[in-house]
């Protein structure tokens, strides 16, 4: 660092596995990053910690991942004195440029924070494909069902169906059944055959694969029905979910239930990367627009780095590695370490991390074969299916805009139909809307375009704006 440049103000957004390891790496190099966490306690989603005062052990909370969770949490605790940690704080805007600035919300008050460097570790959210009845009380994402148990000591009440795809399906069913929930069925939209085809790739990460098999075996032993190749699901009920219907091999089944947990893998949360000015590319594997990043985590914007599931789903282990990789890249870009031997060692480590992350990516491709995302639902869904939960916009309204107004692009579709204009600003419905648009116009999902993000990335109270004005 030269004497003439200002000292770096490095901000890490997110305190999950990626953010924590990035912070650790910077602290080891003698820097003091600011770490902003939307949650009250560090850990992100997989290693989410319950509020202080909860008593379950790490083993009870995290099962097979207990050791990793413990390691991450205790690393963070040790880091605390060396970082500027801002929990319960939302980053709702990023103004990039020569003097970049973040807009924050904490305790209903607004603040700005300048930055010279950003490491965005914004994590992910369950991917959900709309289905009839998905807005009913009692219908939740797989992640939500997990958080209820992990962070609040609750399960979904009554008879629970777990439906969707991805490794989280069986993990959740296992955790729930162990905790005493009443699981009446686990419905997998993938085919077990697909998993066999992916076997060679899956075996690259034998531990993960074995866990999956273990969960399935355990569930079967408990007499919990596991069904694969499930096609369309549909929930119904009056004030809450009361029934779930599905088709499988041409046959339709309906069962009574009180809750449904559903999800089809994860989707990266990329709003801040967009506001930071990052270039986006449509990623076929994730079926999502993602901010471009190099092997180390550099984005297309100098001094903005990306790590963890927030820029491509790769799992918690990869997130820890990519957090470290991004921090090493940041240090490298700052000319650190200055000592030649240490510099060489750091470069070697960067290369090693890059190799490991690439190999992990191949595992992910294997997972996609085993748990394919259900991309053809757009063809089959009825006109009256609600796509946008916030605004209650239906598939029919989207299709009509295409037919009657010649709409071919997603932002135009939003302007015409209000899809994505609600409180979540397209976070939940954007992918589904793009798939409906793509199917209706005959273009690819990538060609349908990308919803433009504007601040605030989550709703902010007017009162916070007023308090801010009073301060100026």
């Amino acid at each position: 660092m030269s004497a003439s440049s200002p000292s770096p103000q490095i901000i890490i957004v997110g305190a999950g596995p990626a953010g924590v390891r990035a912070a650790q790496t910077l602290v080891e190099a003698g820097l003091r990053p600011i770490v902003i966490d939307e949650n009250r306690r560090a850990g992100g989603q997989i290693y989410r910690q319950p509020p202080p005062g909860f008593v379950r052990s790490k083993k009870e909370l995290y099962g097979f991942e207990a050791a990793k969770a413990e390691a991450l949490h205790s690393s963070f605790d040790q880091l605390r004195p060396s970082i500027d940690y801002r929990p319960d704080t939302l980053v709702w805007n990023c103004m990039p440029g020569h003097s970049g600035q973040l807009d924050l919300l904490h305790a209903q008050r607004h603040a700005t924070l300048p930055y010279t460097h950003l490491i965005l570790c914004s994590g992910a959210l369950d991917r959900v494909m709309p289905f009839p009845g998905w807005t009913l009380p009692g219908v939740y994402t797989l992640g939500a069902a997990q958080v209820a148990l992990k962070a609040q000591g609750c399960v979904l009440d009554g008879r629970v169906v777990i439906a969707g795809s991805g490794p989280l399906l069986y993990l959740l069913a296992y955790q729930y059944a162990k905790a005493g929930a009443d699981i009446v069925a686990v419905l997998d939209t993938a085919r077990f055959g697909g998993k066999l085809r992916a076997l060679p790739t899956l075996l690259r990460q034998p531990v993960t694969f074995a866990k999956g098999l273990y969960f399935m075996g355990w569930l079967r032993a408990k007499g919990i029905p596991l069904l694969d190749g499930v096609e369309q699901i549909a929930a119904s009920g009056q004030q809450t979910i009361q029934n779930l219907r599905w088709t499988r091999g041409g046959k339709t089944t309906e069962i009574a239930c009180d809750a449904l947990a559903t999800g089809f893998g994860l989707r990266s949360e990329t709003q801040l990367a967009e506001l930071a000015g990052c270039r986006f590319v449509f990623d076929e594997l994730n079926q999502q627009w993602l901010p471009q990043r190099d092997d180390a985590g550099r984005s297309s914007v100098p001094a903005v780095y990306l790590a963890g599931d927030g820029s491509g789903i790769a799992g918690a282990d990869a997130a820890e590695l990519s957090g470290r990789a991004a921090a090493l890249a940041l240090l490298q870009d700052l000319g650190l370490p200055t000592n030649a031997a240490a510099k060489t060692a750091a470069e070697q480590e960067s290369r090693r991390l890059a190799r490991t992350l690439r190999s992990n990516l191949q595992f992910r491709q294997g997972l996609e074969t085993a748990f394919p995302t259900a991309v053809h639902w757009a063809r089959n869904c009825a006109d009256d299916l609600v796509i946008c939960r916030c605004e209650e916009i239906t598939a029919g309204q989207l299709r009509r805009s295409v037919q009657q107004e010649g709409t071919v692009e997603i932002n135009r579709l939003k302007a015409m139909t209000r899809v994505g204009m609600g409180r979540c600003q397209g976070r939940v419905c954007g992918a589904a809307a793009a798939e409906i648009l793509a199917h209706a116009t005959g273009v690819s999902v990538a060609e349908a375009g990308r919803l433009r993000v504007q601040a605030p990335v989550k709703p902010i109270p007017v009162s916070a704006a007023l308090a801010a004005e009073e301060q100026t």
């Binding site: 692009e409 015409m416 609600g422 433009r452 504007q454 601040a455 709703p459 109270p461 704006a465």
Partner: protein
């Protein structure tokens, strides 16, 4: 680089800019049986026309705009007949609030002036104001009400005009900027980035914030800069504001749409003339929210869910450029509406069509002549001598 095709599209009128000015002109020209091609660099109605506040307002306009504005008002009243949809247009009334006695004097003077143009305004003292609109807070000293002004959804209106023009037989060439401009003394020849060429007898420059750029290609002298109005919108809220609100001085303008969201404008964002390059500013949003909640205290508990900005063309005197070119026969301008073009657009379209078919406008537009910039520049130079 664009490739040139051999085909040339021959048309009576070429229009650069597929926003409201261009598409309303296209629609009216089609009614007069003229052939029309509209060239738009992005999507029709996606710039100022589609992201503006949506105010359909006569009150507050300078005297020179009132004849045009009154003509537009008559078209808005029969909008569904004109474009086949209502674009969520409501003649809700527009209330311009006064925060001081000085503000009230300004409103009274304006009322008296506007009466001469057939615009009827009702002045309300504080007591009456709060009796009629109990949701207006103590900061309001009074207001001027224009009962028939209102608001509409700009995204829908802009798209509906484009669609109506197309259905009437106008040809829309979208997603392609005009790169080459030619004039041989009789015909204009344009070529866009896709290599499509258009030859026409008339050229309408309806290119908004890009108007100056186009005008200068034909040797015009004009002053215009891009501005980026700052906009916010809240979550859907229970019905509260039953008319469109403004305030003397313009610190904010707000309306509540039927679905309950409150749309608020005030202050400036940042940006440049590249498409999709505008950004709202948190500080502008905060100032506008403070001004709004000062007048509508119940909104203090609302959530803001989005902010945005857009590109508008502004002239130094805040009056648009409408009318014939100073340099080139057959070239007509309609740009630089300085953030107040939405309500005027249907009348501007009719005026442009009149200029093409009859050579003159039946509504006064001299105040908007592009020649005023050259005159201003000349007089500046004179005064230096």
């Amino acid at each position: 680089m664009s490739k040139t095709t051999d085909k040339v599209i021959d048309t009576d009128v070429a229009i650069i800019g597929g926003g409201l000015m261009g598409t309303s002109a296209a629609l009216e020209l089609r009614r007069q049986q003229r052939s029309v091609v509209v060239l738009e660099q992005g999507w029709c109605g996606a710039q100022a026309s589609g992201v503006n506040y949506g105010g359909v307002r006569r009150q507050g306009r300078a005297a020179c705009q009132l004849p045009l504005s009154q003509r537009a008002h008559a078209i808005w009243r029969r909008l569904e007949q004109t474009i086949g949809s209502d674009g969520e247009y409501i003649a809700s009334g527009h209330l311009k609030l006064a925060r001081s006695d000085a503000d009230m004097q300004e409103l009274i003077a304006y009322r008296d002036m506007a009466a001469a143009y057939g615009l009827e305004l009702e002045l309300l003292e504080a007591e009456t104001l709060r009796r009629r609109y109990p949701w207006i807070g103590e900061q309001a000293r009074g207001a001027s009400l224009c009962a028939e002004d209102g608001h509409a959804n700009p995204r829908l209106i802009a798209a509906a005009f484009a669609r109506a023009a197309e259905q009437a037989g106008a040809r829309l060439l979208q997603q392609s900027a005009v790169e080459e401009f030619g004039f041989d003394g009789n015909y204009f020849v344009l070529q866009n980035s896709r290599g499509e060429r258009v030859r026409s007898r008339f050229l309408l420059n309806c290119s908004g914030a890009w108007g100056k750029e186009i005008a200068e290609r034909f040797g015009e002298t004009v002053s215009e800069q891009a501005i980026y109005p700052n906009m916010c919108v809240t979550e859907p809220l229970p019905p509260l504001m039953n008319l469109s609100l403004g305030v003397v001085g313009g610190a904010f303008y707000a309306r509540q749409v039927e679905r309950g969201n409150v749309v608020l404008g005030g202050g400036r964002g940042i940006g440049n003339l590249a498409l999709d390059a505008t950004r709202p500013r948190a500080s502008s949003s905060f100032k506008a929210l403070a001004a709004l909640t000062g007048m509508v205290p119940a909104l203090r508990n609302a959530l803001v869910i989005r902010t945005w900005s857009g590109v508008e063309g502004e002239t130094p005197d805040h009056q648009p450029v409408i009318g014939p070119s100073a340099t080139t026969p057959g070239l007509l301008h309609a740009f630089g509406f300085s953030g107040a073009g939405f309500q005027l657009a249907p009348a501007v379209g009719e005026v442009l069509a009149e200029l093409v078919t009859k050579g003159e406008s039946s509504t006064p537009i001299d105040a908007f002549s592009i020649k005023r910039f050259a005159i201003q520049q000349a007089s500046k130079q004179e005064s230096k001598v």
